[in-house]
Amino acid sequence: MGELLREDEALLISRSQSGDVNAFNQLVLHYQQTIYNMILRMLGDRDTAADVAQDTFIAAFRAIQSFRGGSSFRAWLLRIASNQACDHWRRTHRHPIDSLDSAMDEDEPHGGSLLSTLVTTDQAVNPEEFLLNQELQELIQKGLQELPLDQRVAVVLCDVQGLTYEEIATNTQTSLGTVRSRIARGRARLRDYLYRHRELLPRSYRLLTDRE
C-alpha cells in the first residue's frame, strides 16, 4: 500500500463523513495492516485480532463524524482499535490483571543474571536488525499478554506503533507522567518475563557462557 497523501486522506475522510463507504474503504485498505497488528499484539490470537479489527473499522465508520481534521487519523483509528481490543480482553478474561498489582512491579535494580547475557554479542550490538524466529516471536507475544492492560496498551503503542508519549497520552486520555510510568513498568515486566523463560529462548540467542 503506497503512501496516502495528506490532502487525499482529508478528502477521503470528508467523503466518508458524508456517508461514502467506498471512500472509507480506501482508508481501510491503507490502515488495515496497522490496525490489525496493533490488535494482534494486544490480544495475541490471529482470528480474534481479525474480528476485532473488523469491529474497529465498523465502529470507526459509525463514529467518523466525531473525527476532527487536524489531528492524526492514524492515531484516532489506533485509539478506537485499542479501546476495542481492551473491551474484548475484559469480556473474555474474567480476572483481568489490573494495575492494582503494579505495587509488586519491582523498580529496584535486579541483581543476578542479566537478560543481555542471553543474547549473542553480535546481535546485541545492533538489535534493531534482529530477525526473530517463530519461537522467540511467540515468547515475546506471550510476554506482552502477561502485562496489565494499561501497560500493554502503552507499550504496544510506543514500541510496536511508534507513537510519541504525547500521542499515547492523548490516545489513552492520561498524563505524560502516567504514560512514562506505564511504559517503564510494562517494559520491566516484559524483561522479567523473558528472563524467567530464558530456557525457551533459542540457542542462537544465548551467550557462550550460558551454554556450558
Partner: protein, 244 residues
C-alpha cells in the same frame, strides 16, 4: 553527589531510551551511569527488551477489512446532512433536553408536594386538627387567667391604701386592656369551633376538595399533584427514549 549514589529507576532508564528525560534528569542520569556497572547492565537489558518488541514483524492481514456496501444505509442515517448543517439538530436536541429536564424537575417537585399533602391529609389528628386546636384553645385562656390572677396578686403591694374594687378596675384599665379584649374573643371563638359548630362559624369560601384546612382537601390536592407529577415523569421518560 548523593543522587549519583542512588541507582537509576527503571522509569529513568526507560525514558532515557525514548529521549524523554528532562535536561536536569539527564545530567543526573549521565553522571550516575558513567560510574555504575549495574545500571549499565540494567539499561542494556531494557534496551534489548525494547529492541525485541520492536523487532516483532508486521504481519500481513489474513483478509481484507473493507466494509460491505450494505452497511451504508445503517451508518448513513446520521450523515445525510452536510457538515455545515450538523450543529442545527444538535442545538435542537440540546433545547429539547433542557425542556425535558425542566419538566422532569417540576414533575418531581409536584410529586414531592403531593406526598406531603397526602401525608398531612392522612394524619390530621396528630399534626393538624388535634395539635393546633389544643394548643390555641389551651394556651390563650390560660394566659388570660394568669394575667388576671397576677394582677390581683400584685396590686395590693403597689397600691396599698386603695380599695379592692378600685384597684382591680385601675389594673384592668391600665395594664390588661390590650391583651384581654383580644384574647378572650379569640379564645371563645376557638372553643366554639372545638365544640363542633365550626361549619356555621366559618362558612367555606372554596369548594371542599380545594380547602387546604380540611384533610379531604389536602388529600384531593395531593392526589391531583401526584397524578400530574407521574404524568410529567412518564412523558419525559418516553420522549427521552425516542430522542436519543
Amino acid at each position: 553527589m548523593a543522587q549519583q549514589d542512588e541507582h537509576l529507576t527503571t522509569e529513568q532508564l526507560s525514558a532515557f531510551l525514548d529521549k524523554q528525560l528532562s535536561p536536569a534528569e539527564r545530567a543526573v542520569f549521565d553522571a550516575h551511569l558513567a560510574s555504575c556497572q549495574q545500571c549499565q547492565s540494567r539499561l542494556a537489558d531494557l534496551r534489548l527488551t525494547v529492541a525485541l518488541v520492536r523487532a516483532l514483524p508486521q504481519e500481513e492481514v489474513p483478509r481484507s477489512f473493507v466494509l460491505p456496501s450494505r452497511l451504508a444505509p445503517v451508518a448513513e442515517r446520521p450523515t445525510p446532512r452536510p457538515a455545515t448543517v450538523t450543529p442545527v439538530p444538535r442545538q435542537r436536541g440540546a433545547r429539547v433536553s433542557v425542556l425535558q429536564r425542566t419538566v422532569r424537575a417540576v414533575s418531581t417537585l409536584a410529586a414531592v408536594l403531593a406526598l406531603i399533602f397526602i401525608l398531612s391529609g392522612i394524619l390530621p389528628p396528630i399534626h393538624f386538627g388535634g395539635g393546633e386546636a389544643t394548643s390555641s384553645a389551651g394556651s390563650v385562656p390560660a394566659a388570660s387567667n394568669q394575667s388576671a390572677t397576677s394582677h390581683s396578686a400584685n396590686t395590693p403591694h403597689v397600691q396599698g391604701t386603695a380599695t379592692f374594687g378600685s384597684v382591680q378596675a385601675a389594673a384592668d384599665g391600665k395594664k390588661t386592656p390590650v391583651p384581654t379584649p383580644k384574647s378572650t374573643p379569640a379564645a371563645t371563638a376557638r372553643s366554639s369551633i372545638h365544640s363542633g359548630t365550626s361549619p356555621a362559624v366559618q362558612p367555606p369560601t372554596l369548594p371542599p376538595f380545594l380547602d387546604l384546612s380540611r384533610p379531604e382537601g389536602r388529600l384531593a390536592l395531593g392526589a391531583l399533584l401526584l397524578v400530574l407529577g407521574i404524568i410529567g415523569l412518564v412523558v419525559t421518560r418516553r420522549r427521552r427514549g425516542t430522542v436519543y
